[in-house]
Symmetry: C2
Subunit: 401 residues, 2 copies
């Protein structure tokens, strides 16, 4: 990569793109049917048939032509109904912009607010793509670590988050519930962050992709939409990928302050033009008819989470951070030396279970592992049975070393 | 827009996004069924059924999950076959990157090569989106005008193109056949440009979207792929939109030099992740089974082109530049004063024909008009009959003024 970079004279944006550590481990056994693959943020269910059928109907109806960059009006209205129903918030349809998945919602939002050299603060470990998007746009990443305590608790120290602000800070990025840690921000912390950002005129970028995947009660994770007004510096990014198993559809949305929907969709025009027309029709169906499917999926995740949290917590040398949200289990092998990538490779070879090394998630990730549990509880049980002897052996090995 | 910009403190990237002049005229009568709409670069045919059906099959087969950012291997192989068949060039599948339409192919390519402050030279009038993508990335647009002569000829003076190069020039953008002018670069000019860019170590970005839509002979427009090697600084951008009436599918591709496919698709990962999986399967079908449809469409355009070129050339005060390629007719109203937007609005109201004002196409576009003729020849005849009295009246008005 660096030799191509030098010989062609490319942008410095691309010189520093790191190798994706999840892709690196997955490439070792992507097509091995024996491996239980829990490395990527994607469950084992296909898109439900009623959503596929809506796309097929739209194709047959000729919905194959150019459409609005901001998204079909009926899709933005369906999104408004969805937010009203689940969070009891009234968001005007003009504030929604349809994007090519949650990733593109984030990239366009950053294009809208960042000048080169601006700093964005991100709690880490974090989904690596958000940090990369900031860097590609010439922004500067400032990270603040979550704290993990011996009892399996996690927290984000707000004083350190606020202390990282400089005159160049433009935004604070919050992903709650958080990939990969499973941490969830409390409503009280959200109020504190909102008030701080109002005072300092900072943007909050809230990635609320996993809001339905929470395990402490029956509801959804709180949204910044509930506590912010339409003219606060708030951008919420989201996706159809996780709620409705539509990872391969590349459909998401951003919610911007009043008056900025046209601007963000103008950026969308010059990046991708729009998302496919017939897919937008299927998204309306997902929103209006997909609540039952979300509930089914969350209950399934809840069962798999219990299998893995209970099973792994019993093992010596394994510190499990029981996730408050998301469908990821984050754990640490205590006293086991070696890079998390090498440990993941060892587990892949010995246990035939594919997990993501913590090094994939930036600062503070090394030493940890991430497992995706958006799977059948029976598969979670099978994965646990394969992992158990392997992790015990790793721990014993470390003790004797 | 500017007030929102000021009150929120946004990136300077978005402060200068101009209003799209095609959207502005289309908004006046988007839903008026009486209007013959020839303003947008989109024909009157839906996507052919065999392509829709391929997408439906892929949906039913569960092709709804995350996939390769660079594109399915079988899609990149189908693209290699397509280029071999039509241009007799061997392009390695590793050089293709699947993108969210031609727009995204261009945006990602520019992200890969541009540093803020770098200059890109574009002949104008031009598709406005390419100029905007450059500006959004912090690049500097340098434009060189096509020359239009009284006899209906068009040319791009290469000496002026080469003379516009400075030490900050990074790339020359060539769209041949050209939207909106219909100009086509000769093979000899392509050799000259290639040699010049090799010497100066400049990138050629070749937008070859309209290559099949040529009218001087039965073939395709020449491609830079035919005269460049795999390590030349060449990026070719293309789309499924025009060849196969797939505008609303948002699927395209970029061809990069050897060794850079991984880099461009890494950028794709952090912009959009990929295009939808089942759409990629439909694209394979379009490439492998869609040659007949391209021929059918081009012959239809050829007939409509003849109707409009012959009909409009007969009118006084109308200078028609018979397009060598694309499906656009570019013409000028001689001696008619007023902004092209106001003239387009007058034509819309009087003749019920929607055409694009030249002001939509940047420097040198004012005073011209663009008509899309990717339509049934009978509809072209009807549009001509509506336009004729209106354009004669405009000319007479101007004479008497």
């Amino acid at each position: 990569m660096s030799s191509a970079y030098e010989s062609y004279g490319l942008s410095s944006r691309v010189a520093e793109i790191p190798e994706n550590q999840i892709a690196r481990i997955a490439d070792l056994a992507r097509n091995d049917p024996e491996v239980i693959k829990l490395w990527i943020g994607e469950g084992d269910l296909p898109t439900p048939g009623f959503i596929n059928q809506a796309a097929e109907r739209a194709l047959q109806d000729g919905e194959t032509r150019y459409t609005y960059s901001q998204g079909l009006p009926q899709l933005r209205e369906a999104l408004a109904r969805y937010h009203q129903r689940h969070w009891n918030v009234a968001v005007d349809p003009s504030r929604f912009c349809i994007t090519v998945g949650g990733m593109n919602a984030l990239m366009l939002s950053l294009q809208m607010i960042l000048e080169p050299g601006d700093e964005v603060i991100t709690p880490t470990p974090a989904w690596p793509n958000s940090l990369e998007a900031i860097r590609i746009l010439g922004g500067v990443n400032v990270t603040v670590g979550y704290e993990f305590d011996a009892g399996g608790g996690m927290s984000l120290p707000l004083d350190r988050l606020f202390g990282a602000v400089t005159p160049r800070t433009r935004a604070i990025f919050i992903n709650s519930p958080s990939n990969p840690t499973g941490w969830k921000m409390s409503r009280e912390e959200m109020f504190q962050l909102r008030d701080f950002c109002r005072e300092r005129r900072l943007w909050i970028i809230a990635d609320e992709v996993y809001a339905h995947f929470v395990y402490d009660d029956a509801g959804v994770a709180p949204s910044f939409l509930e506590i912010c007004t339409a003219d606060d510096r708030l951008i919420v990014t989201n996706t159809f990928s996780k709620n409705w198993c539509m990872t391969g559809w590349r459909a998401g949305w951003a919610i911007v302050p009043e008056g900025l929907g046209g601007l963000l969709s103008n950026l969308g025009q010059y990046n991708t033009t729009s998302i496919p027309t017939f897919i937008q029709h299927a998204c309306v169906t997902a929103l209006d008819q997909g609540d039952d499917f979300i509930r089914y999926q969350v209950e399934r995740c809840r069962a798999s989470r219990q299998v893995l949290v209970e099973g792994l917590s019993r093992l010596p040398h394994v510190s499990v951070f029981a996730p408050q949200g998301t469908f990821y289990l984050f754990f640490r092998l205590d006293g086991v030396s070696g890079e998390s990538f090498e440990i993941a490779r060892h587990i892949l070879e010995q246990a035939k279970v594919g997990i993501a090394p913590g090094s994939a998630f930036g600062n503070g990730g090394e030493g940890y592992m991430r497992i995706c549990f958006a799977i059948d509880p029976a598969l979670a049980q099978q994965a646990l049975e394969r992992l158990t002897p392997c992790l015990i052996a790793l721990g014993t090995l470390s003790k004797s070393a």
